[in-house]
Symmetry: C2
Subunit: 527 residues, 2 copies
């Protein structure tokens, strides 16, 4: 090829790609191509990375957690040293606001995640070390093997395959990573790659710890997730692609952690509306339109009571949506998908409240859009009204009674989040109990009087939920040490002589690691 194509990150070096096809990212604000040209990696170079990753995984067995912690911390520093460049680049590639979103929100969140992951590695807290002195058996989680991480389009930093939560978790548990960047923001990903190489060198880690490609064919993606040399996969992105990868990984017996889609229902109860319709409308508008609605936790369905109160909040939100600036979307594909989602919901019988057309802002965009259906309409066709329209829009469902709200909750698919708004005086208490009982089983995170968009990096966070929000309801993609445990395999040591045990399972506990000893948690030595 005549143009200069960016190399891929193979075994610590920027290696010329064997690609026979390439792509260029597009600036969504100008709708013009950005300068760089990036390779679509063929199987040959993925195969080489897999070999390196397997050898690296073997080499790192037995490395203490501190080594991974030091790498993660050095990497966070290297990222911060490139903050201005990362902000300029990601803004050009995604149209996300430089401030507060990229510079003051997502970038600090990303380095915070890397540092929290480092802390999990250093304290060995993700390992759940367990000692049964009577049986002479001890267990812990050990690294699962090379991890492949697919990053999504909507978080160029915090979920990037080479810098986000899955990446940080996979490294913290002692595994090499093969990252696949998202083709919407390859230059951002490349800069992370440079920071990662610098951190690998600074901390004397194996050169195969972090490898990276920008894109590959669907066929090679399927081959990658079912390769015997890998341990597990993290994927955040569209449901359709994710389910194809899941089928392949499942058949190969490879754990795949998915974050696929979610419409994040919000139930607003009568008392709450009586008390504070305007402020709830403000909160909802902020949450739903934040980053042009391109959040996994964007509230896409709002269930409200029929009558004056329900009409009141619909009108209040409609007014705010019409007035709010229309944001630029990440890519033409996102606009097309949003437009298709809106069309599907309207075709099924929803009414348009506001918006509904492309345009209204700069570059790739679509009007802030609200739709509505009645409770009976929803109940008659629950599947289609749960179509994900990923973007700056939502569907109001006007329920005739609390019992109908419960029925609606019962027909929801698995979601990342579910919210219930209640009044402060207690008049919604009984309704809350009835709805919560059903909603609790459908969502990973239940919120009360709070919109779901923010995902704190908390030890108690669940950024997960029942299928099809994810592939398994027991795991979270955010929060430490829980997200790290996903990339561990359980290793039991039965009658293994004391000096042959891993350090965290020996009697002495110089690092004060929390261990479950004979059923009780302890930081003490075992006598």
């Amino acid at each position: 090829m005549s143009t200069t194509v960016h190399p891929v990150l193979l075994n610590g070096c920027w290696a010329k790609s064997q690609a026979t096809s390439t792509f260029q990212p597009v600036n969504p604000t100008t709708e013009q191509p950005l300068p760089g040209t990036y390779p679509v990696s063929p199987w040959g170079e993925i195969d080489a990375m897999l070999g390196i990753a397997a050898a690296t995984s073997a080499e790192m067995r037995g490395f203490p957690g501190t080594r991974f912690a030091e790498f993660l911390e050095a990497y966070a520093n290297e990222i911060e040293a490139r903050a201005d460049l990362l902000v300029e680049t990601a803004h050009a590639e995604t149209a996300l606001a430089k401030s507060p979103r990229l510079k003051d929100g997502e970038l600090p969140r990303t380095t915070n995640q890397l540092r929290q992951a480092a802390q999990s590695a250093r304290t060995e807290s993700w390992r759940v070390p367990t000692i049964d002195t009577a049986a002479g058996i001890r267990s812990m989680l050990g690294p699962i093997g090379p991890v492949v991480v697919f990053g999504p389009n909507n978080f160029p930093y915090a979920y990037n395959g080479i810098a986000g939560g899955d990446f940080a978790s996979a490294i913290a548990s002692g595994n090499p990573v093969i990252a696949k960047g998202h083709p919407c923001h390859p230059e951002t990903t490349r800069i992370f790659g440079e920071a990662a190489v610098a951190a690998v060198q600074a901390t004397d880690m194996p050169s195969g710890l972090v490898q990276m490609i920008y894109r590959t064919s669907h066929e090679d993606g399927v081959r990658l997730v079912s390769d015997p040399r890998i341990g597990a996969i993290g994927y955040t992105g569209a449901r359709h692609t994710g389910l194809k990868l899941k089928t392949a990984a499942d058949a190969a017996g490879k754990p795949i952690y998915l974050e696929l889609s979610s419409i994040n229902p919000v139930f607003v109860l009568t008392g709450a509306l009586k008390e504070r319709t305007a402020s709830i409308a403000d909160e909802f508008t902020g949450s739903c339109l934040m980053a042009t609605g391109q959040f996994c936790t964007n509230p896409g369905i709002v269930v409200v009571p029929t009558g004056e109160l329900g009409e009141g909040i619909i009108a209040a939100v409609a007014e705010r949506f019409a007035k709010a600036p229309v944001g630029t979307m990440l890519a033409e594909g996102v606009r097309e998908s949003f437009s298709r989602g809106v069309r599907t919901i309207l075709d099924a019988g929803a009414s348009l409240v506001t918006g509904g057309q492309p345009g209204g802002g700069k570059g790739i965009c679509f009007q802030n859009t609200l739709m509505r259906v009645s409770g009976p309409q929803f109940l008659a066709n629950p599947h289609v009204f749960q179509t994900e329209a990923f973007g700056n829009g939502a569907l109001f469902v006007v329920a005739e009674s609390t019992a109908q709200m419960v029925e609606i909750a019962d027909l929801l698919e698995g979601n990342l989040t579910g919210s219930i708004y209640t009044d402060t005086a207690g008049s919604d208490d009984a309704d809350y109990v009835a709805i919560e009982k059903v909603l609790r089983t459908k969502v990973g995170r239940l919120l009360n009087d709070k919109m779901p968009t923010g995902v704190a990096v908390s030890s108690a966070m669940n950024h997960g939920g029942p299928f099809p929000a994810t592939g398994h309801p027991g795991f979270t993609a955010v929060g430490f040490p829980a997200s790290v445990t996903r990339f561990g395999m359980l290793q039991s040591f039965d009658a293994v002589r004391p000096h042959r045990l891993p350090v965290v399972l020996q009697n002495k506990n110089p690092g004060n690691v929390w261990r479950r000893v004979n059923g009780e948690w302890s930081q003490a030595d075992v006598s």
Copy 2:
């Protein structure tokens, strides 16, 4: 049908089955049918059970752990009250020895498992309650929903769908169970059903807590594991059937915990052979022939050094195998499968050391069988030499060097266990390190100077391992509370008002539950 067909357990009642076909168990010792006739349940009655299970699951939401603990303990007592009958019945159905195996081994183990599961429920230890006071987020595991448990042929008690480890774990986490007994021992399963009904009544639990069928078509099995009303599946049994169920469950997004097959490699190092060939031969013979080799953890491959020492242990084991009584197998299907496995391994070039023919004992049986291959033979054809021959036989692999042992270890599929025998003086230390480094990643439980057959019910047990031993290397089917967590979904509570939180996540901690509060484990109240 003219014969009286045993009813199925539907919603707490023994209900006439809608079966159009039936089966009779066979006594493997006499090779004659046993008296009872049992139904092959059609979809209609499974569908009814699913509806009941879903309603029961909803009804039990919020039940404290003590209620499940009381049921499990009452059930253990009811089982003990039927011990003699269970022993007579299981012996007739499986040919397993009444004593010590059934009466003194498996039955006490089963009630012990139920009581340990009760303890997990009572202490809420399986929930991993996590509190982040700064973020205002709290999380715990909650019940995943109705669990379907498929029991295997080889443990009529301890892994029975209605009494074993998966059952106990699913109940301890607050879920109703639909049990599928194994058709080899339906009367044993029926007696457990009676004990379960008595325990449900005695502890005032919902009548849908435990339901049971004996058998169904493969097609309906597939339909059952992909039904939207279930939460998860536990399956222990043959790989072929398990993988079919896994494909269906995976496609439906239902977690399925499998225990499929394992050949449990044993590496015997030079120093160990110099020191104690005879005692290792005794241990191996006992482990390999126990219960006619019908253990998931039966050692099926033994890797030994070439030369005098390797020949010495092969001869010593051959002598013991030839002298040892030939046990009766569970069923004709087991003999056929074992015979086919032996034939496959011999056809691939292994030599027969001893045995190799049907017969040699009472009823359904096959001679104690030993085969051997060289290290290079194994390396040239690793897949076929890992064919599982489930029964009283094993394959010796004679390795030319430690390096070759490491190569062999590196080509092993995922297994439940792996053992390394070493001398006491330390001459095997370097070889141990080299082999362990590779073997550790291939097995769930690593043993040192110990045979793998025994599976202690220990908090540090891993009865699990990488695919294809199981479907996910992070989980164990044995040991509390770890096995219970499999049937939990992660539930995060974000900004939920204090009085609306589950009791175990509230500030006060009257039950002294171990909780992870701001990163540290504690039994104290949160202030």
